[in-house]
């Protein structure tokens, strides 16, 4: 799936514990990920890595991603990134 398919802002997730809110915007020049939250110091890099891997698996090479985390496990990061990206592509529920 080419990244030109990111046509708008896509959001997924909640502010509940063990969750995260992912906001994805169409981008240029690779994948940029910003992470906020109380565990950023310890897990910020892991969250960025899982986010970038998930987007690449979807064939997305360019995107701006903002994340607010509340200590999610990897499966939750993957699920929220996928949901936000699909919404940014205009995919229906």
């Amino acid at each position: 799936m080419p990244d030109e398919k990111l046509v708008k802002e896509g959001v997924a997730g909640t502010d509940k514990k063990m969750d995260l809110i992912v906001t994805i915007f169409p981008g240029k020049g690779g994948i940029e990920v910003e992470v906020e939250g109380k565990d950023v110091e310890f897990f910020g890099e892991d969250i960025k890595r899982v986010t970038a891997e998930t987007l690449k698996e979807m064939g997305i090479e360019n995107a701006k991603v903002k994340i607010v985390e509340r200590s999610p496990l990897d499966f939750t990061i993957r699920a929220r990134v996928r949901a936000a990206a699909l919404r940014a592509m205009g995919v229906e529920e």
Binding site: K16, D19, D74, A79, R80, R82, L86, E93
Partner: protein
């Protein structure tokens, strides 16, 4: 068939509830993509449950892992299936089941998906939730529609609404439907599972209702809160007297077999097939509750 005394519904869009679902000892976990998920969150919940099932580090204990998908008549049902069918999924609950065609359609889709994904065909079980008057009247056809189908269950809230009634503490509104579901399940050789008890603070009411349906013949009851699991297990656990009686029935049967006698008796009472069947069921429940060793 597997023991399914308690079945906990877990909202499909809540990561912490999903991750912790395995710690409560429910016989069955049902990750829900239907009623607990709003239309605007269907995609997010589906992907969350799909990713959860692929995540091997999350432990669900000894619980059977199942998902309640959306009906196949909605835009969501088929997408749910595509995402969740995987090695770890053990069963699918189909809501609003009204006819055998609903089950056959799901079975066919599932078979195709299993083949595509290289999974063993037929391993994933099906469970039909009946929650309309039409569904109740077609219960036997539904229960007999697929080899994969292991239980039918009643969706109490929706069925009450469909009947135009109100749920009352004595359960009268659902009495006939419960009997019909049970008759259909037994005639088709599958389990009958009861609906949820909505008032999570009223554990006495839950216990009474669970005991009532157990005495009717039901195999289990659904829960919407972890605190309800222990109450349901208690209601489905036989009393000491029942266990003792069941043991004596089985002993008498064994003795009669050893002695080559065609007829077993306990005191002055003849032990026939239904009595043995009931005794076996009591002992099975006692084992599940940890009251007997597995060897007994």
């Amino acid at each position: 068939m597997r023991l399914r005394r308690s079945r906990l519904y877990v909202p499909g869009n809540n990561p912490s509830m999903l991750v912790n679902a395995g710690v409560y000892g429910a016989d069955v976990l049902t990750f829900d993509l239907e009623d607990s998920v709003s239309p605007g969150e269907k995609l997010a919940a589906r992907l969350l449950v799909g990713e959860l099932l692929k995540e091997k580090t999350v432990d669900f204990g000894r619980s059977e892992v199942t998902v309640r998908i959306n009906p196949l008549s909605t835009p969501y049902g088929k997408k749910d299936l595509l995402e969740i069918v995987c090695e770890r999924l053990e069963g699918i609950y189909l809501p609003k089941t009204e006819s055998e065609e609903d089950v056959i359609k799901l079975d066919e889709l599932l078979t195709r998906l299993e083949e595509e994904k290289g999974l063993e065909v037929g391993r994933i079980k099906l469970f039909a939730i009946i929650e309309t008057a039409k569904g109740v009247l077609n219960a036997y056809q539904i229960a007999s529609a697929s080899k994969r189908l292991e239980a039918i269950t009643i969706g109490g809230e929706d069925l009450t609404a469909d009947l135009g009634g109100e749920r009352t503490p004595d359960g009268m509104t659902l009495f006939t439907a419960r009997q019909m579901i049970l008759l259909a399940a037994r005639a088709a050789g599958v389990q009958a599972l009861d609906t949820v008890y909505s008032d999570i603070k009223d554990s006495d009411g839950l216990y009474q209702e669970a005991v009532t349906v157990r005495k009717m013949g039901y195999d289990g009851k659904a829960a919407i809160h972890p605190s309800q699991i222990e109450v349901i297990h208690r209601a489905f656990t036989p009393t000491e007297e029942e266990i003792e009686y069941a043991r004596r029935v089985i002993e008498a049967l064994e003795t009669a077999k050893k002695e080559g006698s065609g007829v077993a008796a306990l005191g002055s009472k003849m032990i026939d097939r239904p009595i043995v069947k009931r005794a076996e069921r009591i002992l099975e429940r006692a084992k599940a509750a940890g009251l007997l060793s597995r060897e007994e």
